[in-house]
């Protein structure tokens, strides 16, 4: 069985995107720090778990799209236990539509014949949740979004999943392989890299594939402007030392008869 996990490298919560004069997205500051999108980390863990349950012969590949820096995120997945890494090199930091990302990744997938593609339910920075289902559509695979539990049925060549629905409900369904699943964060606890895998990752080459040519960005939506999120409440900030703030909070709540 061949599994592909699509991961994204995201800036951490403290690293803010920069805007240009037109207030459009213009990459990140040089000192920004990046990590694997947490939802994708759960997808990597799930792939490794499947390999452990089914057969050690199961191959787990990683693919990520972006500039040079994303290699470190791919490497981290190999340290977790993935077999191979593929870097779709694209050296720009402005907005790239999920429509384009999914085209590039689907093109890559067509050459490799994966039985299962896993990815996170969304990225933590853009939170669109589009790239996964779009890859599936472009490959003609069935897909299920926001999965909390999955199990492969090797005999039937299918996968059973439990999706999270609204207000805590769930439903289970069966998809024929090949399929694409986007996983929700509650599905597992991602492992830490083992020493032996860290050593192995040092000697594992990441295959780079250049995304060149004219991408039809004009066809799709763009982010025109970025601004501070608005406030919908008064947002009084308590000042002073910790104990002064604690006293002020007690006082404010007491005045409202809440305590």
């Amino acid at each position: 069985m061949k599994i592909l996990v699509c991961i994204k490298q995201v800036p951490d919560q403290e690293s803010r995107p920069m805007v240009n004069q037109a207030k459009a997205l213009a990459g990140y500051a040089e000192n920004a720090s990046y990590r694997i999108n947490r939802y994708d980390e759960h997808a990597v863990e799930e792939a490794l778990r499947i390999r452990e349950m089914i057969s050690p012969k199961t191959e787990v590949d990683i693919v990520a799209l972006g500039p040079e820096r994303v290699k470190s995120a791919i490497k981290r997945c190999i340290e977790m236990g993935a077999d191979r890494g593929f870097h779709l090199y694209y050296d720009r930091d402005d907005y790239l539509s999920p429509s384009i990302k999914s085209r590039l990744i689907a093109e890559f997938c067509k050459k490799a014949e994966y039985d299962l593609i896993l990815t996170g339910v969304m990225s933590e920075d853009m939170m669109s949740g589009q790239t996964g289902p779009m890859i599936a559509a472009r490959l003609g695979f069935p897909s299920a979004a926001s999965v909390m539990k999955l199990e492969i049925n090797a005999e039937k060549q299918s996968i059973q999943v439990e999706r999270e629905l609204d207000s805590g409900h769930r439903c289970s369904m069966e998809l024929m392989l090949p399929a694409l699943i986007t996983v929700q964060s509650g599905i597992n606890r991602p492992r830490y890299p083992s020493l032996s895998n860290i050593m192995r990752a040092k000697n594992t080459e990441i295959t780079e594939i250049r995304c060149t040519g004219n991408l039809p960005v004009f066809k799709y939506e763009t982010v025109e402007r970025i601004s501070e999120a608005g406030s919908d409440r008064a947002g009084i900030r308590l000042e002073g030392t910790t104990d002064e703030k604690a006293a002020a909070l007690w006082q404010l709540l007491h005045e409202k008869s809440l305590i």
Partner: protein, 325 residues
């Protein structure tokens, strides 16, 4: 005429349960009618399903895609129904609710139509140059304003982002397409309603909610202790707190969890993603404690405290004890 509304046609996908059109559909119609009000666009509401008939709805023409294979939701079936309807309607814009069904199939529809897609839209704006779509990103800290590319554009709209239409508008026409849509790659097995009752949370006047910032299970003790100073209080958690097993899923507040509206909501170490805000925004008073001065939760709070939880909460407990009679 707006360049992104070449056919001046808007398609919405009805949100339904067993053939019954759910109220969120009227929010989608409201959103569509804002655009139609400006550009005179035609609005068609598409209802996939397997039933004999349906009443007309106000504010839109209704197109029923009828097939035995559409008796219940599958991603595959809804995608095919939307594509079939789009062929007929030739929409410039397709509006779908950002629900667990909507975000499952909407991006696929966009990919199949080679259109752009914008999910979890919270608002629309009009400029001389056309429509803009607003959504939240970067951990809820920033607002992103999008413009469409070549039509069609697919958007998913957050439930609650638009009011329901007044349903005073003229009912539209009703038409049917008998289709042979049969999902072959997917089959539903079971619908599960886990025991979600949490009467404590539902009746609480004060909710102390824990997020990623509490860091470890042991810190729940101070959250509980804090709660003990309030009458009719309960403890809740963000998605991360529940995923980590610190808080039970039946006490998760947010878009996929519970919606709460207590007199007082205290968010402890919660960053404030739009998914969480959707579950607590109707609270009377919101207090937030977070060490990140930039945390999105502060934009949705009445009282903001930039502090480490492990320092502040024990201090607050000491303060509250002083006043205890």
């Amino acid at each position: 005429m707006n360049h992104s509304l070449r056919n001046n046609s808007i398609m919405i996908m009805c949100e339904q349960s067993g053939g019954r059109i759910l109220p969120v559909t009227h929010e989608l119609i409201f959103c569509a009618s804002l655009i139609a009000g400006r550009y005179g666009s035609r609005i068609t509401a598409v209802l996939p399903g397997n039933f004999a008939g349906a009443d007309s709805i106000s504010g839109a023409d209704l197109l029923i895609i009828n097939s035995p294979g559409l008796a219940e939701y599958t991603c595959e079936g809804w995608e095919k129904a939307a594509l079939l309807a789009a062929e007929q309607i030739m929409p410039d814009l397709i509006i779908i609710a950002h629900t667990s069904t909507g975000y499952d199939y909407a991006p696929r529809v966009a990919a199949q139509l080679e259109g752009g897609c914008i999910t979890s839209v919270a608002g629309i704006e009009f400029t001389p140059d056309g429509i803009r779509y607003r959504r939240s990103g970067f951990y809820g800290k920033l607002d992103l304003l999008y413009r469409a590319g070549k039509p069609p554009l697919v958007i998913t709209v957050l439930p609650g982002a638009f009011p329901t239409d007044d349903q005073q508008a003229e009912p539209g026409t009703v038409s049917y397409i008998d289709a042979a849509i049969d999902p072959v790659l997917t089959s539903n097995l079971q619908f599960m309603i886990p025991d979600q009752s949490n009467t404590e949370l539902e009746h609480a006047e004060v909710i102390i909610a824990a997020g990623k910032g509490i860091g470890k299970a042991e810190n729940l003790q101070m959250i509980r202790e804090m709660a003990s100073f309030f009458n009719r209080s309960a403890i809740a958690g963000s998605r991360v707190a529940c995923d980590n097993g610190w808080i039970e899923y039946n006490a998760q507040v947010g878009l996929t969890g519970k919606k709460v509206a207590p007199l007082l909501y205290v968010a402890c170490g919660i960053s404030g993603s739009m998914q969480h805000i959707a579950g607590m925004k109707d609270s009377k008073t919101v207090v937030s404690i977070n060490r990140d001065p930039d945390a999105a939760i502060f934009r949705h709070s009445d009282i903001c405290i930039v502090e480490e939880l492990e320092k502040f909460i024990p201090e607050f407990i000491r303060e509250a004890e002083k006043h205890r009679t």
